[in-house]
Amino acid sequence: MTVEHGATLPPRPPGAGALARLASSMAQPILGRIARRVAARHASLFARLGAHQNTDYVIDPVELPFALHLRPDPQALLFRAVPRDALPAAGATIRGRFLMLLELLDAEVDGDAAFFSRDLEITGDTEAVVRLRNALDDVDGSIAEEAAAMFGPPGRAILGHLRRKYSDDAMPRGE
């Protein structure tokens, strides 16, 4: 048996307390707007989700002070930031570095490859995760850029900054 060594995810950050609560409440209105826009422009992705439109997904970007809660119900879409000490009971949890999750969203990174390298962790209902992944992968173009464009040049600048910052942070991992 060959055991190869690679990067594993850092220990789960606390993401609780007053700071996490403040950060999640600041992110909230932005996330809501993004989710509504993406849902309106890519309505066909709901069909691929099937019964998992009602699943509670927790998306956990390990470096952020909060996690994200998504319930992709087209009638009552929910996408909100949640401190880690107040997470809902998750049907499925998707965990990884923020930039990697962003790249997964935009089909810049292959989900299976990220899973093989252990950069992506999934727990809970695997079918729910597979459906969400396939639904998002069928979206043409970049969801992250669409979201950034909603906020004009400042939005694009922030996205560019995040990408640079996180790719620089990821560099020393030597992969």
Binding site: F116, R133, D137
Partner: protein, 333 residues
Amino acid sequence: MSLAELICPAGTPAALRTAVDAGADAVYCGFQDATNARNFPGLNFTPEELEEAVAYAHARGAKVLLALNTYPPAGKVDLWRQAADSGARFGVDAFIVADMGVADYIARNHPGVRLHLSVQAAASSPEAIRYYAQHFGVKRVVLPRILTIPEIRKIRQEIPCEIETFIFGNHGLMVEGRCSLTNYLTGQSTNMDGVCSPASEVEYIRDEATGTMSSCLGGFTIDRFGPEEKAGYPTICKGRYTAPHRPEGYYAFEEPVSLNLSRLLPDLIGAGVHAFKIEGRQRSKAYVRSVVSAFRRAVDDIRAGRAANIEDLVALTEGQKQTQGAFETKKWR
């Protein structure tokens, strides 16, 4: 020299467009049901999507091959017949079939559409391949991944149809088309329901204290990865098991590893292989874009008489390991 067509996977319409734009000569895909061997949740095409996809591919000079490569359970053959009728109506360029009944139905009802014999039919001898060619007019056989290149060359000389071989991707090859391991644990059949290790039966359990991750199928743990170990698909053939002679646990069937024949392409062309297949309809557009473009450049280089400069694709492989499998030597495992 053979044409060395590049046959590329598409699990969604967006992946099909990505494959065509990246230089696929043909794209293979399936409907959202048990008629194909990647019947995964949220994957595949509705009839309307397939019709649009065929138009997109044809407008750009690419072909669409419809996978109908599972075996209909008794009394349920209508689903396969309807799928064939829809595919023919939308103008697909070929059907990829495994079951003789499905092959016979298409040969009789849609004689103008090419038939390709799926790897799921596990036809690996000239006799078997000739049988399909003579009785159903099969024009191409997708060979099981168990033959060496000299064996492929010999088969080519003895059959009346084209040969397609896998060159990249998943390397689960336990008697292709006849593997019942998933059935044993989940009650669902890879070959009839179209899914190995159905996602609804898969669970990953993380142990926070040790950082290990267990892969479970149908409630059974089939592998456990240490915090620094690369992972593989949750298929039984790639599971790690203990046995009296190996109490520490070992890969009893196969290791998580992907096939990569990028360095053998000239030899395969020399052996008379007509088409190269990339596995991975379950993979993302990112995978399709990277793998298809890399092999497009390689095949074009070889056709132009240049040495192919193959990119490193190991990051996309299962377990982040690759093999040339039986194509290089029968002793690979």
